[in-house]
């Protein structure tokens, strides 16, 4: 058993503005021992603390095989993220973590991997994409499907191009509403399933994004023969403690912070898609 701890001091070492409201901070734990000891699994999250303002859960992007790259991507929506948006390299914040259970890396070994994301939902799967592509020979074919509401919301174009260039890797993009320059698919991300060149029935699907999108996509994959143990979701709920005690992230009998945020469909299908859970 672990005692609930206090934040560690972290320094912002780089900042990238991805869009007018989305930015990524690279962090480094100030204490050398803490820095060396820190490890995370793709899909886990940290509680990030802004001095005098508060703490929020943010999923870890970056690459677990390069622990020096401790990156978090934020969207400016609320009181705390607006504060984080003002940070620059050299600024100090607090960090507790990592927390939660990540993506099923073992189950994905030697299998095809389908990744489906919507909106900024991409962030929690970035580390697993990096991990899978780093260990390319240990996996089958890989497909990355990204849907956005409007083509202007699409970020990380370079990153997707890089992934698309990898062998046996398919990158498909969809926008519900597309501007004139959009070269991807127009419509829902689920419309891309037709174009998949991999075996998601025997493979592993990892999904994150808005719940209506995940519900629809999960349902379609089930109908197309994928088993409920092969489809995994990353859920999002309010979190204040991250240690399964504050009650905000309750999802039926699950504490999302402790039992998730990544769940197989089979663990949550009795509740999935129900509004207000």
């Amino acid at each position: 058993m672990t005692e609930r701890g206090i934040p560690m001091e972290a320094e912002v070492i780089a900042r990238v503005d991805e869009s007018p409201t989305i930015f990524t901070l690279s962090l480094k734990l100030v204490d050398g021992d803490q820095h060396d000891a820190y490890r995370f699994m793709p899909g886990q999250f940290n509680m990030l603390y802004l001095y005098g303002v508060g703490e929020i859960p943010i999923s870890i992007v970056g690459d677990p095989d390069q622990p020096d790259l401790l990156q978090h991507t934020f969207r400016t929506v609320g009181r705390v993220t607006r504060g984080f948006a003002r940070l620059q390299p050299g600024d100090r914040i607090g960090l507790r973590g990592p927390f939660g259970r990540g993506w099923p890396l073992e189950a994905a070994r030697n299998r095809d991997v389908l990744i489906v994301t919507g909106g900024l939902g991409c962030a929690p799967v970035v580390p697993v994409i990096n991990h899978v592509l780093h260990q390319r020979q240990q996996h089958g074919r890989v497909a990355i499907l990204q849907g956005v509401k409007h083509s202007d919301d699409f970020i990380w174009r370079g990153r997707y191009e890089q992934w698309d260039a990898e062998p046996d890797t398919q990158v498909l993009l969809a926008a519900d509403v597309a501007g004139p320059d959009w070269r991807g698919y127009r419509g829902r991300v689920t419309g891309l399933f037709e174009k998949l060149e991999l075996d998601f029935v025997n493979g592993i699907t990892m999904m994150c994004g808005p719940e209506p999108m995940m519900t629809a996509a999960g349902q379609q994959l089930l109908e197309r023969g994928a088993g409920p143990d092969r489809i995994w979701f990353s859920l999002e709920r309010n979190m204040q403690c991250a240690v399964g005690q504050c009650g905000h992230c309750l999802y039926g009998e699950k504490f999302v912070c402790r039992d998730g945020p990544v769940f197989p469909y089979s663990a949550i299908q009795h509740l999935f898609g129900v509004r207000g859970i």
Partner: protein, 369 residues
């Protein structure tokens, strides 16, 4: 169970003095502001002698009777919960220096040992759940743990349940079976004292009590049995998860939401509700900040907030969240229901919503208009 000793009523002060001389701050029930509340007590005369409580959905009245009995009431709005899981407390502090460097520090006060006298079987059952929640999970809450380690419990078997009580139905009362250091049975002229822990045995021995005659023990047993028999409210037994979630669109959720004020009173008086939120309090010096935890409620708007959205925007969804968690999901998290039958949520609901009535309707097949 060990053979109890008999403590004459006029010697109750001996017990309180013994607790104090053993290093405990003594907290017990007092009549304050028209309700029985737990406060520091100096002497047995601080206890609510002759007080009984008449309650119903959304109502409570204290009645003063000409009786020496000091524990002839069922329960007050709170018992142990605020003593261990504080309504507000500092979790950690951070100092910021002129260069912007942050120095985080634990908030490690060592609390004084506390002896609480008067809590009921329902309160002990709720304490057991909070022990599981705060101490026995993957993470342990050090703040709760420090206070829990220094807590001595003098429970009193309940003989005067309120009409809102249903601990017999949940199996948590009215008699306490374990989890106490000392257990009292109140008789007209004194108390049966039964130790339940090594510390309790030490205290009991120090009081040098005469063994209680069997006839007195029989009177005490009969009083507890009567207290179970007079209860009229019930909860359906067992894990209600499957039925409540199968009935997630039951029209009763909307119907109860029309009455519910979403005030959160039920969650504040519930001895098992554990939700909390965290926030920073920043002194004007600009060089430090204090990170605090305070009780929250799943009936508040902010409870389900995520990035500009509310997962549970409607009262119907919040009431459903509360009830399905308490009587359904709880079984899968703690191996038992989250309700100990204390009836506080019924009594302190400003519009008198009765959990036992709601759940009986919600367990029935919905009748759609």
């Amino acid at each position: 169970m060990e053979r109890p000793g008999f403590l004459p009523r006029q010697r109750l002060d001996d017990l309180l003095a013994l607790l104090r001389s053993s290093g405990y701050r003594v907290i017990g029930p007092q009549l304050t502001g028209g309700a029985v509340v737990y406060r520091d007590i100096d002497a047995a005369s601080d206890l609510p002698a002759g007080v009984t409580v008449e309650s119903g959905p959304g109502s409570m009245r204290v009645i003063q009777q000409d009786s020496p009995r000091q524990f002839a009431w069922a329960n007050g709005p709170q018992a142990l919960k605020p003593l261990l899981f504080k309504p507000t407390e500092t979790l950690w502090q951070v100092q910021r220096d002129a260069q912007g460097q942050l120095n985080f520090a634990h908030c490690d006060e060592t609390p004084q040992a506390v002896a609480v006298i008067g809590m009921r079987a329902c309160d002990l059952a709720a304490l057991r759940i909070h022990d599981q929640h705060f101490l026995e999970g993957e993470y342990r809450d050090p703040h709760y743990a420090r206070r829990r380690e220094r807590l001595l419990l003098v429970a009193v078997n309940c003989t005067e349940p309120a009409t809102t009580c249903f601990c017999a139905s949940t199996g948590d009362g009215p008699g306490a079976s374990d989890g106490y250091d000392l257990l009292l049975d109140e008789l007209e002229d004194g108390f049966l004292v039964t130790p339940g822990s090594p510390e309790g045995r030490k205290l009991s021995a120090a009081l040098a009590l005469e063994p209680a005659p069997e006839a007195r023990c029989e009177v005490a047993r009969a009083a507890v049995e009567r207290a179970a028999a007079v209860q009229t409210r019930t909860l359906p037994p067992g894990d209600l998860f499957d039925t409540l979630f199968a009935h997630r669109d039951h029209p009763r959720w909307s119907e109860v939401a029309n009455r519910c004020l979403a005030c959160g009173n039920c969650t504040q008086v519930c001895p098992t509700c554990f939700c909390s939120r965290e926030r920073d309090e920043t002194p004007l010096d600009g060089g430090s900040s204090v990170h605090q935890r305070e009780w929250d409620s799943c009936f508040t708007e902010g409870h389900s907030y995520i990035h500009g959205l509310l997962v549970r925007a409607e009262t119907r969804q919040r009431y459903r969240q509360w009830l399905t968690h308490k009587l359904g999901s709880w079984h899968r998290q703690f191996g038992r229901s989250g309700c100990v039958g204390c009836g506080r949520c019924i009594l302190w609901c400003p519009v008198g919503i009765d959990i036992t009535e709601e759940v009986h309707v919600l367990m029935q097949e919905p009748v759609h208009d």
